[in-house]
Symmetry: C2
Subunit: 209 residues, 2 copies
């Protein structure tokens, strides 16, 4: 399997993480996002949505990270919910992540770290931070009574919700402030196969220090 | 089936629309969102995420609009993709909608119409408008060669992507500017069972005029 990705993409990392936890054979194809490759006509032939990640598995091309996670879970029979109700629970947390957790963390982290400074807008950062924190509160409350997001075991919903939270660039997320999330991230990173994002995918920017 | 909703919620409308297109029997349960009901402890017992829509079908409670749409499609065998590749295509457009189309249209329309004027921020409106328009461009390009979003027929992906676009409040969306989207919305509203949002769900605010 080939994963079109770049290191800074939390959505790509979700997929890379699931592949590693499952010990699948895959290779990253680095996409030069910061110089516009995802918006090129060539890349749009691979994905009309103009974004990574895209997974190519033989004749099958899949995009949208939540959709790719579902594909991986389906073909392997692993990391999914066991029963119909569990599967719905997995699905709704992936959608929650898409809209409210990574949906805010992604553009917030992008603006705070990768946009040129003259294009960063504090009012927008404050707005996204507020929405991101509201989502973190929901996750923190949910994890008070649950070791994993859904189904009582690690699933693709954990890969989705944790994707951005393992990055170390500043984006208004301090693990120490969220004890249940912090403990859950520790459980995830203790799993066989877990690796941090930049160990799995080439980054576009050099390390900050 | 009971749908916890309020008229202004495009995410609730997506579900109401699918139920109407399928001629399903359902009743709306009005939720007083604008006075904080979704954030109350009582409502969080129904949905820990503190939001509508929530569908209750006998013993089954489902939340997240994309997940409810999938549930409705699964139990009825209608409005889904026919083959595995079609189903993935339906799924990825629902996720695209969740993140980038409704994911921007929802908070943008909320800020422009329902937040008190002193809490509206032009920089945030401009930022969300830019992201919303980028998503509209992707949808417009996709609909150049497709009558429906996925699978060559109307599916839950159409209900999802169109949900916010049938509302008449101003939110930086002018149908005349997007001819393919405009024609697709016309096709949708010509379907038996189609109704506009406020015919299906009680609104919280009185009509503007």
């Amino acid at each position: 399997m080939k994963l079109y990705c770049f290191g800074e993409s939390g959505n790509a990392y979700k997929v890379a993480l699931a592949l590693e936890l499952l010990n699948e054979s895959w290779e990253p194809v680095h996409v030069d996002f910061f110089n516009g490759e995802t918006r090129s006509p060539e890349f749009r032939k691979i994905n009309v949505m103009g974004e990574v990640p895209v997974l190519v598995d033989g004749d099958v091309t899949v995009s949208q990270s939540g959709n790719i996670l579902d594909y991986i879970s389906t073909i392997t029979g692993e990391l999914g919910g066991t029963f119909a109700a569990d599967r719905r629970e997995v699905s709704r947390w992936i959608l929650f992540d898409t809209q409210k957790l990574s949906g805010q963390a992604g553009p917030l982290r992008f603006m705070m770290n990768f946009l040129p400074e003259d294009k960063r807008d504090q009012a927008v950062i404050d707005w996204m931070t507020g929405r991101f924190r509201a989502a973190l509160q929901i996750l923190e409350a949910h994890l008070a009574g649950n070791d994993w997001i859904a189904s009582g075991k690690v699933t693709i919903a954990d890969c989705a919700c944790a994707g951005y939270l393992f990055y170390e660039e500043p984006f208004a997320f301090d693990r120490g402030e969220w004890p249940n999330i912090d403990a859950w991230l520790d459980r995830l990173s203790a799993l066989p196969g877990w690796k941090p994002p930049y160990d799995l995918m080439q980054r576009a920017f050099p390390p900050a220090s």
